[in-house]
């Protein structure tokens, strides 16, 4: 046994129980999956091991010794490495500088970087992890940045490597590469803890798997001894739903028609380059792609939140010279934004107040500029029931709700207006399966009621489940359209990596 974490408890302020008496045992040389839904406590447990958080109680044994880890410095000294879900890279420094950061004596001269470059190249060849040691992090793709994170751990010498949801930012092809790499590392004796919420990956890569649910340990088992169904039940606590019921879309009426749309990102670089597409009534058009390929800017642009340029844009038969909140409102627009907490909701406001954002100034919620509390509360009560939001009192601050319930509030507010055009971006990121199921059903229902829906998501499963047509976005362009057949997923994966499909399949 390389690692044994015993009865780890961690409670955050506000009485959030992140881990409740969780125990985990990891064997030397194995790949151990840590499986659980969002919020199950996987990241917290591993951050405790890496010294980012202090447990309230519990004991860690490592290489047969009880150890206490007060900071990442201690875990580094114990040859534990961690690739965080949000990369811990300094964008303005080079690959090599990131790798030796904190590892040298303060007064060591950076001239000695030459040797570091040499070693990085050697390590790269040994493990197939190629990156240019001299490149600035911000010039690298997400996949390359992940390689740097792994190199950071290998460079300083690591016996136990933790990876927190490493595949969430990768294309299917990059995922296959990563899993192969990890297998190779394990064969060389490295022990790996691999956090995921995807069942397939558990079966593809792991020797054993531990499942967490709501901060509690459900169980540990040999991967070979278990099944998809069993793990799903462990993870969710009940049987999971699968395919959605849906009718065929058959509308010819174009609701949104975009030609030659361009948008720039925060840095002023062209993020969306000349994009054209149509969305019909009674249709869901999915936009698939690895995050950071212009989806965010496309969504913000269509919602009138950043300035964009286009040759022609028609919404509900009206040509718009400029997209503004006002003309979107008139036409009937609903928006479920990517960043629920930053854009969809105002966290310090109550649930009821969040339900009338955008309408706070109109009757019946406001009368001569005075808010009509009774109307607001009744309205909230109605929506809470209709969309089964779990909240004891609609006057409660929305920040106290779980992610899934917060998202239900956004969905309820936007769909209640019965929009002609509904823009949906990453609707289920970070919410539990129950809420996900619900959000899917609501979006489909809205489509069946005749809305045109543009769904942007980096989750391929989601895009395929919901869409009537799938467009693939890569480096700011739409590089192809596919029907939502399961068999097409691999092809879409290739396209998401920028491969023109014709040449690849030829």
């Amino acid at each position: 046994m390389l690692l044994s974490m015993e009865k780890i408890n961690k409670i955050f302020p506000g009485n959030v129980v992140a881990t409740n008496n969780v125990s985990l045992e990891v064997r030397q040389g194995e790949i151990h999956c840590l499986l659980g839904e969002n919020g199950a406590g996987k990241t917290v447990l591993m951050n405790i091991l890496y010294g980012m958080y202090q447990p309230d109680s519990g004991q860690i044994y490592y290489k047969g010794q009880p150890i206490s880890i007060h900071s990442p410095k201690d875990s580094i000294e114990n040859r534990i490495g961690m690739v965080h879900q949000h990369f811990m890279l300094v964008e303005t420094l080079t690959v090599a500088e990131n790798i030796i950061l904190g590892q040298w004596k303060p007064w060591k001269n950076l001239k000695e970087m030459e040797k570091v470059h040499e070693r990085i190249k050697n390590l790269g060849e040994e493990y197939g992890l190629f990156v240019n040691p001299n490149a600035l992090i911000r010039e690298l793709s997400v996949g390359e940045q992940q390689r740097v994170e792994i190199l950071k751990a290998l460079y300083r010498g690591t016996d136990l490597l933790i990876l927190d949801e490493p595949t969430s930012v990768l294309t299917p092809q990059e995922t296959v590469q990563l899993l192969n790499l990890l297998r190779g590392l394990a064969d060389k004796g490295l022990t790996i803890i691999f956090i995921t919420h995807k069942f397939e990956e558990v079966f593809q890569v792991s020797d054993r798997v531990t499942v967490l649910r709501d901060g509690q340990l459900v169980g540990t088992t040999d991967t070979a001894q278990t099944t998809f169904g069993e793990l799903a039940k462990w993870m969710v606590g009940r049987e999971v739903f699968m395919d959605l019921d849906r009718s065929k879309s058959n509308s010819k009426e174009v609701v949104l028609s975009v030609r030659g749309l361009q948008a720039t990102d925060e840095r002023g670089l062209l993020a969306v380059k000349d994009v054209s597409f149509d969305v019909h009534a009674n249709e869901i058009v999915g936009i698939a792609g690895v995050s950071g390929n212009g989806q965010t800017e496309l969504a913000l642009g269509l919602a009138g939140l950043i300035e964009i340029k286009y040759d022609r844009l028609e919404l509900c038969g009206q040509e718009l010279k400029k997209i503004t909140a006002k003309n979107l409102d008139r036409i009937g627009f609903g928006h479920i934004p990517e960043d629920r907490q930053g854009m969809g909701l105002i966290l310090p406001f109550s649930v009821a107040e969040n339900f009338i954002l955008g309408e706070y100034n109109s009757e019946p919620y406001s009368h001569y500029g005075f808010l009509q509390n009774r109307q607001i509360i009744n309205h909230a009560q109605l929506l809470v029931n209709k969309f089964s939001v779990r909240v004891s009192n609609v006057k409660e601050e929305i920040t106290n709700l779980s992610g899934g319930n917060q998202q239900k509030v956004v969905v309820a507010r936007e769909l209640n207006r019965n929009p002609n055009f509904l823009l949906v971006n990453q609707p289920t990121r970070g919410i539990d399966i129950g809420a996900t199921e619900f959000v899917y059903q609501q979006i489909l229902k809205q489509r069946d009621a005749g809305s045109a829906v543009l769904l942007i998501s980096t989750d391929l499963e989601e895009v395929f489940k919901l869409s009537d047509r799938v467009l693939v976005m890569f480096e700011g362009q739409i590089i192809g359209e596919v029907p939502p057949d399961r068999e097409q997923i691999f092809k879409v994966g290739l396209m998401m990596a920028g491969k023109q499909v014709e040449e690849e399949l030829a």
Partner: protein, 313 residues
């Protein structure tokens, strides 16, 4: 004849430029170090005033400028420590703490000066730092007098700048500082003590500001007057932004402002010009606004600048 007068005039302006840039170099380089680590020390004005007061008072009483300087450095360290305590450990708003420092600096230095020297305000003088002529170099035509016939503090400010460049860009410590200002959590995960780095960098800005202030009262002049710093602490903030948070840019910025001050002094002394001298006095400040406008949106500031680091619990 005309030519020579003109050249001597220009030389005079440039000599003054270097001198007038010196306090800005001290405070500016100190600030660059702190801001590279993610802390905006807006309290520079106050710390500079305390430095000016301490250096002059201790120098005056003890008769030793060296002792005065030692006291200045200690005051800089203490100010930095208090600023870091509030902004790094307690995570108070850096702007609010900075403003408090400035008000404290103005009030305290003025109050103590009046208490100690009462009636003789502005009359007491000490023996200030004298120019040191560097052998050979000081004899170079034209630039000898500008660069190599200055006092020890002027030379020190340039050494301070060189040291900052060396540490920030040529040592592992510099990598740690820059990573803490850019992405403190990443630095933390690599075993770097974010708090320690920020404390040390804020201490440097305290020392830089205190020395910059002291230069005004014990080297550039030999008297202390209330509010002797007159906004140079605020100008420093602008210069550092103008210099893109880098030592070389800041040095250039400080020299440009030194030049403005020198030209402004020169124009003031020209007889026959009817423009009120206030206009010339406003020149450096006016230029600050122009400089800031000209670089709007293009600046590459450290990403975590001004943001307290919340360590994991």
């Amino acid at each position: 004849m005309e030519d020579i007068q003109w050249i001597v005039g220009l030389q005079g302006i440039l000599v003054a430029t270097i001198r007038l840039a010196t306090p800005l170099i001290f405070s500016g380089i100190g600030l660059v170090i702190a801001e590279q680590a993610g802390v905006v020390n807006i309290g520079l004005e106050g710390i500079m005033l305390l430095g000016a007061f301490t250096g002059w008072t201790i120098g005056f009483y003890s008769g030793s400028l060296i002792l005065g300087l030692a006291a200045v450095i200690i005051v800089g360290l203490i100010s930095g420590l208090i600023f870091a305590l509030f902004t790094v450990t307690i995570r108070a708003n850096q702007i609010v703490v900075g403003v408090a420092f400035n008000m404290l600096g103005i009030g305290l230095s003025g109050f103590l000066y009046r208490t100690l020297f009462g009636r003789e305000i502005g009359l007491l003088k000490l023996e200030s730092f004298q120019s040191i002529e560097i052998p050979f170099l000081s004899n170079l035509p034209f630039i000898g007098k500008i660069l190599f016939q200055q006092n020890i503090l002027v030379y020190s400010s340039f050494v301070f700048c060189l040291l900052a460049i060396y540490v920030l860009y040529h040592t592992a410590a510099g990598l740690a500082i820059r990573s803490v200002g850019e992405h403190p959590r990443a630095a933390d995960t690599m075993g770097i003590n974010v708090f320690l780095v920020r404390y040390l960098c804020v201490l440097m800005s305290g020392v830089g500001a205190a020395l910059g202030g002291a230069f005004l009262s014990i080297a550039y002049t030999n008297i202390f007057v209330e509010n002797i710093v007159s906004g140079r602490g605020y100008i420093t903030l602008a210069i550092v932004a103008f210099g893109r948070w880098k030592p070389v840019g800041t040095l250039i910025g400080a020299l440009i402002f030194g030049l403005f001050y020198a030209i402004q002094l020169n124009l003031q002394s020209l007889r026959g010009i009817v423009i009120p001298y206030h206009v010339f006095q406003a020149l450096p400040y006016f230029m600050t606004i122009l400089a800031l406008l000209s670089m709007r949106g293009r600046a590459i500031r450290p990403k975590a600048l001004g943001k307290p680091y919340e360590p994991s619990a």
